[in-house]
Symmetry: none
Subunit: 415 residues, 2 copies
């Protein structure tokens, strides 16, 4: 089964609305094992919408529209689909009751144009909209193809999709898809690609790389008639990737919501450790990235933002002479910051970072991007020297990620 | 001039990446007065991409691609465009120097596949990419039409578009556009909309609202033959908006990169004040949002992440009895945190936040979203009680924004 998403609305073409509906539907469709090859956005223009329907129906079995179900003259999504199907819109009594009921409950008079939201082709299957006025519909388009109309607002579209459209589709697809998300830190995209090029060429199971700041995520996916069969196809691929990439893999998960900070927090929890932070160029980002994870309060005791040089002495006891001797951006200062933070808060581990995020302040010996991350436990304190590339935001984000990776590794290390 | 956006990447079809590039480009194009009637997403498939190019070029003068410029076998955007244009890709020496230079600066060996990022048709105009490895390009496609290739990562695409592609387009269009970005905090979109509905209906100058977490941004734009004429059209609109909205406007700027944190840092600089922070639920985000601004080191002395209750006593001297008596989420504790942070670091002002970010921990009296922000100067300490809505991330972000707005107001207050 092939689906195609067709979002209707001039506000999307103007950039006034971010198209989160396309992402939501794409994720749900790929989890269902429904293929998708195109997504289209068109404005509220009848001729262009008609062309878009005809093109989409020539390529896909299911065309999913979002938007344009409202009561205004710009809301043409249903009317144009009916024209393409060669049918008429008629007032649907069930939908009319829904629309009138909404206005009654809101205590507002209903203008007649609102009844356009209750007009459907006679053969449409209605989709209930408990969160809005306009019902959705599944509309037969001939040759076994359908158009599924969904409302534009995400808080109406999402429950309608999950509760009504998806069960209908699932019944028809008969293919179960399973995935693993393999997360990599410390190896660039091109290196990963070179090691896995042959695996990325296969189609079931398939392997696709995705990049974000300093990270690569691989998505491994397989489809089969049952979940167990799909897993059996999938797991040898996952194991092969593990064998080839080794310990740059920091997580293998069933969804794609993981992060280095989450893995760090979870590793700390498993170890029963508390942590303190001493942020300098990161300015609190190391602590904040952990606090973002629900339940972080079990492990994050507190931290220090030692941004100006003097605050490194005041807050985490870095001797002024040490800073004078080695410079504030140095392995020695990162070492002392981590130790000082750990001792001040009495935690099991502490992490520190000092460096040059730019855009100014670099020198030939210490260019922008020079960063030192310190990791201190009662047993030992270590420093990770880094040479990072990018703008201020990227250097700070990469520093945080290196720090989270170091925390994760320290907490996972065999005692 | 008609433009069409063509985003390339299976990750978009799978829903792994939210298509913020389409929104960014749409906004910029509509500000330039360039029309757009379709947006398309296709995966990393050569035949489908070729069809998409041909269709887009049949409808538009400028086809803008995002993604697929990297070194992997999946990166086919340039190759397929060259095929459609009937041309070959050749190694561009300038691009090669850029790619090799990136790897040199990162101190990483460059694998040969990376040179694909330096391959362009001989008649391409290169677009510099200071934030990534792959340069972009403007590629002539015949009949006066062009394809503009942009990289997928937004932090590379956006500056490339603003600094290189847009000036090129603007020169071709002969219409000078000027804009003002009016930034609003503390008034919802529907209220803003109600106050400005009549102004949002005009077209030159035009006024469009954009929303982000807790904020509304209005873009006022006018176009004319010269900059002076465009400004003369624009300014009466900007003044009218100021008159109607008053002090919920926190900035009126010529670009859209402003933020509450930047305004706070700039207000502190103007006042000659230093600041300390005491983050709890924000976990360092208040400090980090200021440190993100280049030059923040002149005003951000340092701060404390007082996440676990005990750290509020250890780090910023909140009496344990006070916490016991009023609860850790209380105006009294926010007050003491701000005072304690200011005194410990000896700054002119300090900001604190304590609250419930969820998902757990709420009670009927203190639901998730209950937050107190403290602002302390030598003269007085005040507390802002907040009742925020949303998930953990939104509550933490809104808290940070309220705090930054409070800092800005305090620093701007007449003495």
């Amino acid at each position: 089964m092939i689906a195609e998403i067709l979002c209707v609305g001039t506000e999307l073409l103007m950039g006034q609305v971010l198209n989160t509906n396309a992402q939501f539907l794409s994720r749900r469709l790929s989890a269902l094992g429904v293929s998708q090859y195109h997504q289209t956005v068109v404005g509220d223009n009848a001729q262009r919408l008609e062309d878009a329907y005809r093109l989409a129906l020539s390529r896909a079995d299911v065309v999913i529209t979002s938007g344009g179900l409202g009561p205004t003259v710009d809301d043409i999504t249903k009317r144009v689909a009916a024209k393409v199907a060669g049918k008429e819109l008629v007032l649907n009594p069930q939908a009319e009751a829904h629309v009138r009921g909404r206005f009654q409950r809101m205590g507002r008079p209903m203008t007649e144009n609102n009844l356009s939201q209750a007009m459907f082709t006679a053969d449409s299957t209605l989709l209930d909209n408990p969160h809005g006025t306009a019902p959705g519909a599944i509309v037969p388009m001939g040759e076994g193809k359908v158009v599924i109309h969904l409302p534009g607002p995400p808080n109406e579209l999402q429950p309608m999709w999950i509760n009504h459209a998806e069960p209908w589709l699932q019944e028809r697809s008969g293919n179960v898809l399973v995935s693993r998300y393999i997360r990599i830190f410390g190896m660039g995209e091109s290196n990963v690609d070179e090691l896995l090029a042959d695996l990325e060429k296969q189609s079931n199971p398939s392997l696709s790389p995705y990049c974000s700041t300093g990270e690569v995520m691989l998505r491994a996916t397989a489809g089969a008639a049952t979940k167990a069969e799909a897993e059996a196809l999938l797991m040898p691929l996952v194991e092969e990737v593990q064998k080839r990439l080794g310990d740059v893999i920091y997580a293998i998960e069933e969804d794609d919501t993981g992060s280095l900070a989450r893995c760090a927090v979870e590793a700390l929890k498993r170890r029963g450790w508390t942590i303190a932070t001493a942020d300098s160029l990161t300015g609190g980002m190391m602590a904040s990235s952990m606090v973002e994870i629900p339940g972080a309060s079990a492990v994050v005791k507190g931290g220090f933002v030692t941004y100006q040089t003097v605050s490194k002495t005041m807050l985490v006891d870095v001797p002024a002479e040490l800073i004078e001797k080695y410079d504030v951006v140095s392995a020695e200062v990162a070492y002392a910051m981590a130790e000082g933070a750990r001792k001040r808060l009495g935690t099991d581990i502490a992490i520190s970072a000092t460096g040059l995020a730019g855009p100014d302040g670099g020198t030939p010996e210490k260019p922008v991007g020079t960063v030192f991350v310190g990791i201190s436990t009662a047993g030992k304190t270590e420093v990770l020297p880094l040479r990072l590339n990018g703008d201020r935001k990227r250097i700070r984000t990469l520093t945080m990620k290196h720090a989270m990776n170091a925390v994760r590794k320290a907490a996972e290390a065999v005692i």
